[in-house]
């Protein structure tokens, strides 16, 4: 048994310590917003936050994150009103949407570390794959979320 702190709640999970966090989140805790895409930390569909850091949950084990603050897409906000989520709706970013939980978590983390990123910094900070090709809108939405964050503070 390992205790995971996911979205502010403590969850006891009965999995081996070497289980990738992704599968504990999806199959054991039952939060399916975090997606599998590659299993080798290439695509970012499984991105969650550990503290403020974006982490690809397929490449980190349950044992490594026990007791740490884990945030999944379901925990980013209670009402889908996180500035990144609002910007994503305003810019109509998702197409198929499968990668977007990961994109949103990566963007939320980027903006925490850098509230006003340039296009170049977005290029460097956003490494998640999107097969539909929503990148131009992701870029716009990050700028918009950055503006929304300023309005909030």
């Amino acid at each position: 048994m390992t205790e995971l702190k996911i979205n502010g709640k403590n969850r006891l999970v009965d999995v081996e310590e070497d289980t990738p966090l992704l599968w504990a989140i999806r199959d054991t805790v039952g939060l399916t917003g975090t997606k599998y895409g590659c299993g080798i930390q290439q695509c970012g569909a499984c991105t969650v936050l550990i503290g403020k850091r974006p982490v690809r949950s397929c490449g980190i084990t349950v044992g490594e994150v026990a007791g740490k603050d884990i945030t999944t897409i379901e925990g980013l906000s209670e009402d889908s009103k996180h500035p990144v989520q609002m910007a994503w709706v305003e810019e109509q970013v998702p197409q198929c949407g499968y990668c977007q939980s990961g994109q949103i978590m990566a963007a939320a983390s980027l903006l925490k570390r850098n509230p006003n990123p340039t296009d170049q910094e977005i290029d460097r900070g956003m490494l998640n794959l999107c097969r539909c090709g929503t990148y131009p809108r992701i870029r716009k939405a990050i700028h918009r979320a950055s503006d929304l964050l300023k309005e909030v503070s």
């Binding site: 199959d27 917003g33 997606k35 599998y36 998702p94 197409q95 198929c96 131009p136």
Partner: protein
């Protein structure tokens, strides 16, 4: 429309209304009961005023759920806030049709716009009639307004929910009156997509997110050499993995069933399946190269006359779909029923596969479509819905619900690949610089021919003719069956020949699946312009003299991109245009290549004419996505073979475009009365526009896609 719509009305439990329609192919010679396609039930109005639209398409990001809702809401005068859209649930009861249920080929709007508009309008008329009856007033004094029937003189009104039951007892109108275009409230406007809110908070359910009570998880390993057989595996090691419950054979492979995806994957690793033989055993890059070479050379070369001649050869490699959601299917099979859930693109094929496998009747089978995590044609499994088959086999054996999910490696290595092809042009220019001889030969793999015996016998690859400059056979073929494929360039002396390269590799539909023809044609066009010493834009304009739609698109994109204006050192612009399934798209790419040969695509301008469109913002989003995919195809995507198997395994070696590869993309939507056609026309011009821009910047001509490791300086 040369087909009439017959509405069909059904009452549903609880006093609701369900409206669908029947189409009559030729009302003049047949009674309504004759050869009609019952297209099922599309609108459900409940007593609480909620409206459910049952879309005949899967929602995979292309936005047809919202577009269908917009079309219906406009004619129905519905309250937008009450609308919910689902994909047709079971093929039989809600969508009983003689044609296939599938989503792809840019048909989501093209095939359904007029039909759905008729259903919306007919339902509105039914509700108005029911409203007039209930209020005891004349129909002509009533109108539909935002989910209500209003009696104008008295200002009394009743909601659609209040009228649903009464409407369900009325005889549906035979020819409902459609709105005029200027009265549209939704169609033509950038209405936010209905599926997006669920896609920003993790609640959208994809195939992999289906959870059923007692469900087990399965991982699969299939022969990496296509068609190979299982030789050996380590049963004891797999069964020793925690959570592993069963090992079940599947066609050309094995599955491991466990209590979680992770345990199934670990069990599969321990199982260490070994394979033998297979249809592609001898295939590698050298062998493939030899086959393409021979096929092309067998068509023979031409003696060109004239001073200015070109002898060019282009090629494109096999491609994988690499959608982010891997193949998956959840099945629950019992003695007298089978239900499957998944990200389906081809529901009819899934249904047929299940019938064949289980012996069940259509009444006993349900195909539930979830949101689709990327389609692009990859879920059209032309040799038979393998991922559905696997889930059904396993669930049937275990008598439990089972979710089969492929690893990324299985997905890349067992795809239905976009075919490789090669194209040779021998062109001679006349005194005016325009082509006087245009000899083109194509050797290509073809998913179409691979699955059609008649085309195999004829050695005819219809795909080779699309988006091409060819006359001759193509004009006969396509003026008869699809005039929209008519060549747009007015080129003298065109002669075209194509041959199908026989391949045992599974081939399939892909995003803008004939885009390679545009790469070939628009590259050859550019090379001709340069040889003639004429600006590539002006050169094309001359040859588009009889194609005003194309000329307009090209002129608009040139204007948007400031074609011909001064440009930074090391930069270049390239232009290209295509005809894709009736849509026209012209693009200009601006690129730079630095001294070390590093390519940057800075900007892509697009002017697209898809005919009439439903949602301009969705259309723009689709074109943006197409351009990104076009960049990906132009620069990095390539499936190669070694020892009979695909060499690539995952996104680290099958590389698709990232944020940093994405330029500024500007999309101009051209207003047009044609169509409706589709948005995939955004992809074909991108690779040649980029290659033409590289030539403009460097003088280096790239004739093989992807650029990959080819040197640009």
């Amino acid at each position: 429309m040369n087909r009439r719509t017959f509405l069909k009305v059904t009452a549903v439990a609880g006093g609701g209304l369900l409206v669908g329609c029947t189409f009559q192919s030729n009302p003049n010679i047949s009674a309504p009961t004759a050869i009609s396609e019952d297209l099922g039930l599309f609108i459900r109005i409940a007593k609480d005023n909620s409206i459910t639209i049952i879309s005949p398409t899967s929602e995979m990001g292309q936005g047809t759920h919202t577009a269908h809702a917009m079309i219906i809401a406009d004619e129905l005068e519905a309250d937008w806030k009450k609308i919910n859209v689902v994909t047709t649930h079971t093929v039989r009861s809600e969508y009983n049709t003689s044609s296939d249920v599938s989503t792809g080929g840019n048909r989501g709007i093209r095939l359904w716009w007029d039909r759905l508009a008729n259903i919306g309008a007919g339902t509105r008329e039914l509700l108005i009639e029911a409203g007039a009856q209930k209020m005891g007033v004349l129909v002509k004094e009533c109108e539909a307004q935002n989910g209500h029937v209003l009696h104008r003189p008295s200002s009394r009104k009743l909601s659609y929910g209040q009228l649903a039951e009464a409407a369900s007892r009325l005889k549906p109108p035979s020819s409902p009156k459609l709105k005029s275009k200027d009265r549209y409230r939704f169609v033509g406007k950038a209405i936010p997509r209905l599926d997006i809110p669920a896609k920003v908070n993790g609640t959208a359910i994809y195939g992999t997110d289906v959870r059923l009570p007692g469900m087990r998880y399965a991982a699969v390993s299939q022969s990496p050499v296509f068609g190979g057989k299982v030789k050996a595996y380590d049963k004891a090691a797999a069964m020793a993995v925690r959570g592993v419950e069963a090992l079940i054979p599947i066609p050309h492979g094995m599955s491991v069933v466990a209590d979680s995806t992770w345990h199934a994957q670990k069990g599969l690793e321990a199982l260490n399946v070994q394979f033998e033989v297979g249809a592609t055993a001898g295939i590698d890059q050298e062998e493939l190269g030899r086959r393409f070479r021979t096929s092309l050379d067998d068509m023979g070369k031409t003696e060109l006359s004239g001073e200015k001649v070109l002898d060019l050869e282009y090629e494109i490699q096999f491609l994988s779909h690499a959608a982010l959601e891997t193949m998956n299917c959840t099945a629950f099979v019992s003695d007298n029923s089978c239900e499957v859930w998944g990200p389906f693109q081809f529901q009819t094929s899934a249904l047929n596969k299940i019938k064949e496998m289980t012996g069940l009747s259509e009444d006993q089978i349900k195909v539930h479509t979830t949101y689709v995590g990327g389609g692009f044609g990859g879920r059209f499994r032309l040799w038979g819905e393998d991922f559905v088959e696997q889930a059904v086999i396993i669930s049937k054996a275990l008598k439990k619900p089972v979710q089969v999910m492929w690893s990324r490696e299985e997905d890349i290595q067992h795809d239905y690949y976009h075919p490789a092809s090669r194209s040779r042009f021998q062109i001679s220019l006349g005194d005016d610089g325009l082509p006087s001889q245009w000899q083109n030969q194509q050797a290509a793999g073809s998913q179409w021919v691979q699955n059609d015996k008649l085309l195999q016998i004829l050695d005819l690859n219809p795909m080779a003719y699309s988006s091409s400059a060819h006359s001759g056979l193509s004009s006969v073929l396509f003026s008869t069956f699809a005039p929209k494929f008519k060549p747009h360039y007015d080129i003298a002396g065109v002669n075209f020949d194509s041959t199908v390269v026989d391949l045992e590799i599974p081939l399939g539909w892909w995003r803008s699946f004939m885009f390679q023809n545009t790469f070939f044609l628009e590259s050859a066009m550019d090379e001709s312009a340069h040889l003639a010493g004429v600006d590539p834009f002006e050169y094309r304009i001359k040859l588009l003299r009889n194609s005003p739609r194309f000329k307009k698109a090209l002129e608009l994109v040139a204007e948007d991109a400031n074609w011909g204006s001064p440009i930074a050192e090391g930069h270049g612009r390239g232009i290209a245009i295509c005809n894709f399934s009736g849509s026209v798209c012209a693009e200009v790419a601006e690129v730079s290549v630095n001294k070390r040969g590093k390519l940057v695509v800075h900007r892509v301008d697009c002017a697209i004419d898809v005919g009439r469109y439903v949602n301009p913002d969705t259309l723009k989003a689709q074109v943006e996505g197409c351009v990104v995919t076009g960049i990906s195809v132009a620069t990095s995507e390539e499936i190669t073979f070694k020892d009979g198997r695909v060499e690539q395994t995952n996104y680290d070696n099958y590389r698709i475009a990232k944020m940093r590869n994405t330029p500024e993309i500007n999309v101009r939507v051209i207003d047009s009365e044609h169509g409706p056609f589709g948005a995939d026309a955004g992809l074909p011009p991108t690779p040649p526009a980029i290659m033409n821009a590289i030539f403009a910047a460097t003088g280096k001509r790239i004739r093989r896609l992807p650029i990959g490791r080819q040197k640009l300086v």
